[in-house]
């Protein structure tokens, strides 16, 4: 500590003592100082023991894969139940994890074989029946949101509707219980990751919830909140609700016993608390808000790892808006792309910690277009020309107008999200310079979601974000079948109202190819077309893709998070003593 720092601390201490005379306590408090500031040393012999504490701002909701729909629950579920497949941490390509897989030549049948070493913490082997149990759970549950992931399995719908007692499309090999096949009703390229939605669950525990007689008891099963048998690197120990989830290492983990004794998922109130916890050493790792980066960079005891988030924040234009009619014109939307200095916006909104995005797929996805796309570099003159070409001319008040109607634009976003509120404000300010009467309007996320998915035409422009985990299939967001229509009560995420037959075809071929070819190369070709159409038509200003700022104590070794997973190698993590 330098003399200056020491003086600073003394001054703070004096001030603190004055402020809190009534409750001051003796020094030597509880917070462990950060561990030794070692450097990553993958080759060194790992020290055994210790505890990893991850900081998060939300508690888990359930440890039942069928019922969980949030990142916190997924974190714990992924630590206690291993999946059959894992996505490459860097580009998302599906690879074998607990099971190998292959597809038949017609693309309709998948064959899986569980790793010979894969076992449950009670000593039983993980088998095909355990995969079957988890799919049956999705069928029996009334509160799950996972049914759609299994909808193309032959016989799943009948089972889910109670018309069949088993799922005809899943067959476990009688001679080799580690081997099983899944037959689909149609070729579906996302199927392999859809089938991986839920990890295999121990039949010896959950079998009783999927008998012929069982109904939806699984939705309230005590094992959902207090699981007993595990296939993952860690075992569940205790859930102190709203505070922490404690896991202990699985000594019999099939990939090797983890080096650390415990994993604790610590819930704190907000990103500031995560930052404080990382600075004090109370937390071992966590993600940082961009606003706190400069502050944390001055802390010697932590390491910062940056990687691109699997998603993006965008401004969606309602091309069907009856009030902002200009948005129906491609030239206007292009002008809105050229007319905003996104690089400056990124600096202003997220302190430069993001990458500009110009199409749907982001750079870390294998489907990211290889051929060059229009980058929409900031060009105010070009934006003004495009607006003029579209018939929008400035009036005496400096506001653009066409056929006597002024160009006004309300950019809505969810209130309470500081980043998006700032983005809305900055975007509105920049569009004002083009002569658009633009304003930002924050509103409650709950109400905004209903408006978006039901096609409420009062929304003109909306700032929101997509998380792109799982398969790259963009059907739910961009296929014309998902454009909401209040008249026909169709709901969906295609709230820009943008439709294009060529884009529909590319999406369909990337999802359900007529030639049955689901190779990444074949799909990539379709997504080139898809992204090119979006890039040209700009139904969104595709905004930016944030950097994830993962912070860990330097004592934590082998911590190498990537866009698709933070914990893929957790059994190899260790804490340098």
């Amino acid at each position: 500590m330098t003399a200056k720092q020491r003086t600073g601390r003394v001054l703070i201490a004096v001030f603190a003592a004055t402020v809190l005379v009534a409750t001051a306590c003796a020094p030597g408090g509880p917070t462990a100082s950060p561990g030794p500031t070692g450097t990553a040393a993958a080759s060194a012999k790992p020290d055994q023991g210790g505890r990893i504490i991850e900081g998060s701002t939300t508690d888990i909701a359930s440890m039942q894969p069928a019922l969980s729909n949030d990142t916190s629950s997924s974190r714990i579920i992924n630590l206690i139940y291993d999946n059959i497949i894992q996505q490459d941490p860097k580009n998302g390509e599906p690879k074998p994890k607990m099971a190998t897989f292959s597809a038949s030549s017609d693309g309709l049948t998948y064959t899986f074989e569980m790793n010979a070493k894969a076992n449950w913490s009670d000593g039983k082997p993980v088998i095909g029946e355990d995969f079957f149990t988890s799919v049956k759970i999705a069928g029996k549950s009334k509160k799950t949101v996972r049914k759609s992931n299994y909808q193309d399995i032959e016989g799943f719908k009948d089972y889910s509707d109670g018309k069949a007692t088993t799922i005809s499309g899943i067959k476990v090999d009688a001679a080799n219980p580690k081997k099983w096949t899944v037959k689909m009703t149609k070729v579906s390229c996302p199927a392999i990751l859809d089938l991986n939605t839920m990890a295999p669950l121990p039949t010896q525990v959950f079998g009783k919830y999927v008998t012929e007689a069982s109904k939806d008891e699984i939705d309230t099963a005590p094992e959902n909140t207090s699981p007993t048998v595990f296939s993952g690197a860690f075992k569940f120990k205790e859930w102190r609700k709203g505070d922490q989830v404690i896991l202990s290492k699985n000594e019999t983990y099939w990939q090797g016993t983890p080096n650390v004794d415990e994993f604790v998922y610590k819930v704190v109130a907000n990103s500031t608390a995560v930052t404080n916890g990382l600075k004090t050493g109370e937390l071992t790792f966590g993600s940082l808000a961009a606003k706190d980066l400069a502050d944390v960079q001055t802390v010697d005891s932590v390491k910062i790892t940056k990687y691109q988030a699997l998603g993006y924040t965008f401004i969606g234009w309602n091309t069907l808006s009856p009030t902002a009619t200009g948005l129906a014109d491609k030239r206007v939307r292009q002008a809105l792309a050229y007319g905003i200095d996104m690089d400056a916006v990124i600096k202003a909104v997220v302190f430069g910690e993001a990458t500009k995005n110009v199409a749907h797929h982001v750079a870390v996805q294998w489907s990211f277009p290889k051929s060059p796309l229009e980058q929409y570099k900031y060009d105010k003159a070009k934006a003004e020309t495009l607006l003029k070409d579209a018939g929008w001319v400035k009036g005496s008040d400096g506001i653009l107008a066409k056929d006597g109607k002024k160009f006004s634009l309300t950019i809505s976003t969810n209130s309470g999200n500081q980043e998006r509120e700032t983005l809305a404000q900055v975007a509105a300010d920049q569009y004002k310079q083009l002569g658009i009467d633009a304003k930002a309007r924050p509103e409650a996320f709950q109400g905004l979601v209903t408006k978006l998915t039901t096609g409420d035409q009062t929304l003109e422009a909306t700032i929101i974000g997509w998380n792109l985990g799982g398969d790259v299939d963009p059907y739910s967001i961009w296929h014309s079948a998902n454009v909401p229509n209040p008249a026909t009560k169709v709901e969906g995420f295609g709230f820009t109202g943008f439709k294009d037959p060529a884009m529909d075809k590319a999406i369909e071929q990337g999802r359900n190819p007529t030639d049955g070819n689901c190779s990444t190369a074949a799909r990539q070709a379709n997504y080139e077309t898809f992204n090119k159409i979006l890039n040209e038509h700009q139904p969104y200003n595709f905004g930016y893709s944030n950097n994830v700022l993962a912070v860990s104590q330097k004592s934590l070794q082998n911590f190498n998070p990537a866009s698709y997973s933070t914990i893929y190698n957790i059994h190899e993590w260790w804490i340098k003593k």
Binding site: F15, P27, D219, G277, T450
Partner: protein, 319 residues
């Protein structure tokens, strides 16, 4: 007294029904739909899925019917299953009540232990520098936003000095019954939560003590030659404390309500933080159960005040 308590408890029933109707209406009629929120961004979700979920969560019936169903169940203390946690809403709340009460009681104790002596000192030393300082503190206690003070104290005591923990109720890995560790965790949040109360009590006590000290019976006590300490603490203070007891009414419920902000700042896993998150997620059963719980606390708290009032001041009859 027994009739009085009984009558007050009977009066509480229509109050609770009224609160439940208002909450039910506000929560259900505010914009947004928990199911759409739940499935937002979920790939390949269908209209059929949404309808099934709506039925599974009992949201497909007309709102008045939903209310009647809820009321019948609530009478049996069944507030339904949380939409998010898929567990009994009331049990989830109860698991957090202990944490909030811990904070509220600690704050209440600090309010009394610090606030009452400050008020008495200010009155006895009227016009002195101590009186001035206490009065400035009283104003500051009201004026300083608790979330701001909380954050400042965390930066000073946890991040810079490392004397106290920055988050939570217990250090990870410590035993749930480690009282010393819990004490270190509760110090800052309890102090911040108690600040307004300290300011309140010191102000009330100062005024009341000054008022009582000027009354005839105190002069008589002095004239009888009683010791100054006896006059102040036995004769004057007992009378001056009556308004403090009044102010105690609703204090517990007030503290539970005030704890919402403090729990957010200090990551304290209590009812306030939990309810706040439930409101964001539109988790109806939790919001409804929490409102009823706080209402009951408020009613009981006022009842206790009235009983205490009657005990402290014999002139008041429980009628």
């Amino acid at each position: 007294m027994r009739n009085f308590i009984l009558r007050r408890l009977i009066y509480a029933i229509p109050t609770l029904i009224g609160v439940s109707i208002i909450t039910f209406a506000i929560v259900r009629l505010s914009p947004g739909d928990p199911i759409r929120l739940f499935v937002f961004g979920q790939r390949d979700i269908t209209g059929e899925d949404i309808e099934r979920l709506r039925e599974a969560y009992g949201l497909n019936k007309p709102i008045p019917m939903q209310y009647i169903d809820w009321l019948i169940a609530a009478v049996q203390l069944n507030f339904g299953q949380s939409f998010i946690y898929h567990q009994d809403a009331f049990q989830l709340l109860l698991s957090r009540v202990g944490n909030t009460l811990q904070l509220a009681v600690a704050a209440l104790a600090l309010q009394l232990v610090i606030g009452v002596p400050l008020g008495v000192i200010a009155a006895l030393k009227r016009g002195s520098w101590a009186d001035g300082l206490i009065r400035v503190f009283g104003v500051a206690g009201h004026a300083v936003p608790s979330f701001w003070l909380g954050l400042v104290l965390i930066i000073i005591f946890a991040v810079q000095l490392r004397w106290l923990p920055s988050v939570g109720i217990l250090t990870v890995g410590k035993d749930a019954w480690d009282i010393a560790d819990r004490f270190k965790h509760i110090l800052l949040p309890a102090f911040v939560l108690s600040l307004t109360g300290i300011a309140n009590y010191s102000r009330i006590l100062r005024t009341e003590t000054l008022d009582v000290l000027g009354q005839d019976f105190v002069r008589t006590a002095h004239a009888k030659g009683l010791h100054e300490r006896t006059v102040v603490f036995v004769h004057a203070l007992r009378n001056a404390l009556i308004p403090v007891v009044t102010a105690l009414g609703g204090i517990l419920a007030g503290l539970v309500g005030g704890a919402l902000v403090i729990e957010q700042v200090f990551s304290w896993p209590g009812v306030g933080q939990f309810t706040f998150q439930a409101a964001i997620a539109k988790d109806y059963p939790i919001i409804q159960a929490a409102t009823m719980l706080v209402s009951v606390l408020l009613i009981v708290s006022y009842l206790l005040r009235d009983i205490a009032y009657a005990i402290v001041d014999p002139r008041i009859k429980a009628s």
